[in-house]
Symmetry: C2
Subunit: 146 residues, 2 copies
Amino acid sequence: MVDILHKVGIKSSSLADASKALTTIEGLSGWWTTDTKGDAGAGGVIQFRFPPGGFDMKVEKVEPAHVLWRVVEGPEDWVGTTIDWTLKQDGEYVVVLFKHQGWREPTESMHHCSTKWGVFMLSLKALLETGKGAPSPNDVKIDNWN
Amino acid sequence: MVDILHKVGIKSSSLADASKALTTIEGLSGWWTTDTKGDAGAGGVIQFRFPPGGFDMKVEKVEPAHVLWRVVEGPEDWVGTTIDWTLKQDGEYVVVLFKHQGWREPTESMHHCSTKWGVFMLSLKALLETGKGAPSPNDVKIDNWN
């Protein structure tokens, strides 16, 4: 089992404000994909859609400093994996620690998703610092898979 | 043991040209850090320096499609880890698969380095596609650690 890890720091003194980007449909639409629907509350399912497909995530935990999703529908290598967000205030920054856990194999797909998650973490940072992220379909393209 | 994985695709039909960005001091200076010195040939040691410190890497393999470095000096959590680059032509792209292997713990430092490697992979892509990367000290800052 191998994990994807990332970290960004958002210049902000409000962990609660940063948290909204992970716990509301409006927030999520602002940095990951504009086509986000569903219920971002505890026990809800969020539908994230991209031009080639998407993911359904069950919200297993939703606290200001900790959010946990489980992938219930999507590509085979994603189903059953979990996405874990931890937030903490560190001086002038809200630090976001990200873990996408439960990958079964370190495939080329996992390499792609790791870099792509990094790009979206920077989109999250931009949204919270400037009011404007770069969600799909206007996300930064990284390779032949986009 | 946990790994950092990344992938970028460079719009190029020349794997040999892309490879130069990993196998020459000039190439490495163009996307990772402008302060790169040493011997990038097989058995050589490359010194990568950044404002807070740096890494010495022993070049264990240097082929056009495969480069392997071992960290011989640097922060404690980096020493002994390996950095593995595989290149392949895939249609209009040279695909670069990256693995930083041998991390002992999934620390906050590892989260930071994972995102930062993603940023530098995009700098490598930019260098090869546009002629201009974003190496340190003009790299994209991601958090309270820079």
